[in-house]
């Protein structure tokens, strides 16, 4: 007999999860809406002073918060790394979209071939592909850095996109090959009888049937790229190409900046990610689980 968790215990667990996931987000929001002086004060709060959007104004326009315009203000606390956040969001989105597209372009046909055909070295190459993510990323930083330098791709978005594509590709191939294997063989046999080439079989039969899973896998690749930090940090190089993960790390690890500004930067950076996760995560899970139980 299965024992159900007591509703009160469920509530406590849920509250704890909410506290540790939503709490930091709410704190960032609060910290971004009050000047430092209020943030550090025990007597004043957003309730007595009202919200203040000066740090957001600084991030988007460069205009200093009013409190930093007065005499004796310590402008060293104003870090312009926060101003990189909007551009970095654009950079990360472009990187992730491109990595997603390349993953599907390269990964879907590869997964189809691995799932439906027999060829020499199939097992070995599949194992190589699947086991490659087990190599610690940090061990690959230097060789990949050297390789991208050789190709003149250091400091470019294209370099980061290629690395992120390679990072997500094993997952794409693994997940999609499972889906393609689950499609009944009779469908492909019928396609052969109708004189479909392998290419046509993939495009006209397999791909439309696996479309929800392809979409979910693409979103998964998008997220891997969007949140990747180590390679992005080493390979980006300047503010024009820097993705949001690197800017966030620079901001979050800098304790010498205005806390209000820091919080505004963090909040701007995480909100699009949160919205994205809320909107698409359900489809990712449904796509992946749906495919996994088909057949």
């Amino acid at each position: 007999m299965r024992r159900r968790l007591h509703p009160a215990a469920s509530f406590v667990f849920a509250a704890l999860i909410l506290l540790f996931t939503g709490g930091p987000v709410l704190l960032s929001l609060y910290g971004s809406l009050v000047p430092d002086r209020i943030l550090f004060s025990r007597d004043r709060s957003i309730l007595t002073e009202g919200p203040n959007f000066e740090t957001y104004r600084y991030i988007f326009t460069g205009q200093l918060p009013d409190s930093y315009q007065q005499e004796s203000a310590n402008r060293a606390m104003i870090s312009d790394a926060a101003r990189q956040v909007p551009q970095s969001l654009v950079n990360s989105s472009l990187n992730a979209l491109a990595a997603m597209a390349l993953n599907l372009i390269l990964g879907a046909p590869a997964a189809f071939v691995f799932a439906r055909y027999i060829f020499p070295g199939k097992k070995l190459s599949f194992m190589y592909l699947i086991l490659s993510p087990l190599v610690p990323a940090v061990a690959l930083v230097t060789p990949i850095y050297m390789m991208l330098q050789w190709f003149g791709l250091l400091g470019t978005q294209l370099g980061i996109i290629l690395v992120h594509t390679a990072k997500a590709l094993p997952f794409t191939v693994l997940i999609l090959s499972v889906f393609f294997r689950k499609i009944p063989a009779e469908i492909f046999e019928a396609a052969v009888l109708d004189h479909c080439s392998r290419f046509q079989t993939f495009f006209r039969i397999a791909l439309p049937l696996a479309l929800p899973s392809v979409g979910a896998t693409g979103l998964f690749a998008f997220m891997i790229s969007y949140s990747e930090y180590m390679f992005a940090m080493v390979l980006s190089g300047n503010a024009q190409t820097r993705p949001v993960s690197v800017v966030m790390a620079a901001l979050a690890r800098n304790t010498d900046v205005s806390w209000s500004l820091l919080n505004a930067g963090i909040f701007i950076a995480i909100v699009p990610t949160l919205v994205l996760v809320v909107l698409v995560w359900r489809f990712v899970v449904e796509g992946l689980l749906g495919g996994a139980v088909k057949g």
């Binding site: 312009d80 599907l104 080493v234």
Partner: protein, 426 residues
Amino acid sequence: MQLRKLLAVAALISGAAVVHPASSQDLTLEFVVWNYSLETVQDNVKQFEAANPGIKVNVTDYAWPDYQDSLILRIRGNTPTDIVYGGQDWLPAWGAAGFIAPLDSVAPDGAVAELSGDIAGFALTDVTYDGKVYGLPYYSDTISFIYNKKILEDAGIAVPTTWEEVTAAAEQLKAGGMDRPIIYEYNQELPNFYDAFVAQAYGRGAELFDADLNPLFADPENGAFKQLEWIADAYAKELVQSDNHESTIITAMNTGNHAFTIVYTYVLAALNDAATQPLAGQFALAPMPGDTHATLGFAKSYVVTAAAAADPARAEAAWKFVDFMAGKPYAVAKRWAVEKGLGFGQLPLFEDQEVIEAWGKWADVNALGEQASIAKAGTYTEFSSVWSAYFRPLLAQAMVGDASVDQVMKDGAQRWTELKEQFANR
């Protein structure tokens, strides 16, 4: 159809990411920095380019915590890199590895010597390795003994000049109701933790190492030994509040619950920051307590790489750049000081009216100038960061009474000697 769209997006992004090379008639210097105030860095670069037609400067920045590793990767990977921000603790290792070049190898004869005359002693030591000057200061600072003027005035306590007077003042404040009058950055993970200890020992006139880099601090008569005993005693008397970062010391001091702290001088600017701190204006620096009042200073610098120095055209351009950023009339160093409150190693700036006006809002500029003139550099070698990481936890234990001062100093000295021998035999 969807695939076609994806292809189009990928192609579009790939096209947009193509790098446009600089015009071939320009020499482009690669300048690598940590990402502090990039807008000002870029604006300084723009001014340099305007003053030096034909030389372009490409700025690459890394976050401070990743800077050293990223830079080593660049240099080892032969990524074009001409001028970099250097740190006093990294310089010996970079110099020994041949990553960087002495400035004399790129500058006109006598130019470096002339500029060196204006640089504070500690800053000049920090940019010198093996007797050669490798950089000019971008930013310099000292460690200060900081106190709350109002608290001392209200209690009728004179500003302490010795560590014994600090104890007496703290005991008087504690008797008056202040629970822990001293707040101390107690974090064995941070280099600051060791630096602050060295600064206090310097205040007593201590030398931690002799000219041959043999450790002296295990001698009970050495000022460093006595200072560690003093800290342990202050902790035992419950006069000290530990805090694990200077950023939170700023807010703690601004509660009025503490009267003394020992931190980098830039923290004084934050303590007196009218934009953020409720007790702004109440804090001042005093000479480091002790017989000599010396303290520890450090310098970050503009350093030319060995690769740039090996190419005559790049070497000449690199020197022009370093000279523009850190040389006379010290316009860039002054800009950092006035606009951002950054410290400097160029002593004439302490007499500059604009600097005095800007800094006078949060510090006594004369006192600061005097402190800079007697500040001493730390001892940095190829192995000092390894040793510091070993010694800091020992220091932390001795301070709070978990280990004896004598044992900690002996262990620290022994480890230093072992490392010195190991590195000598490499």
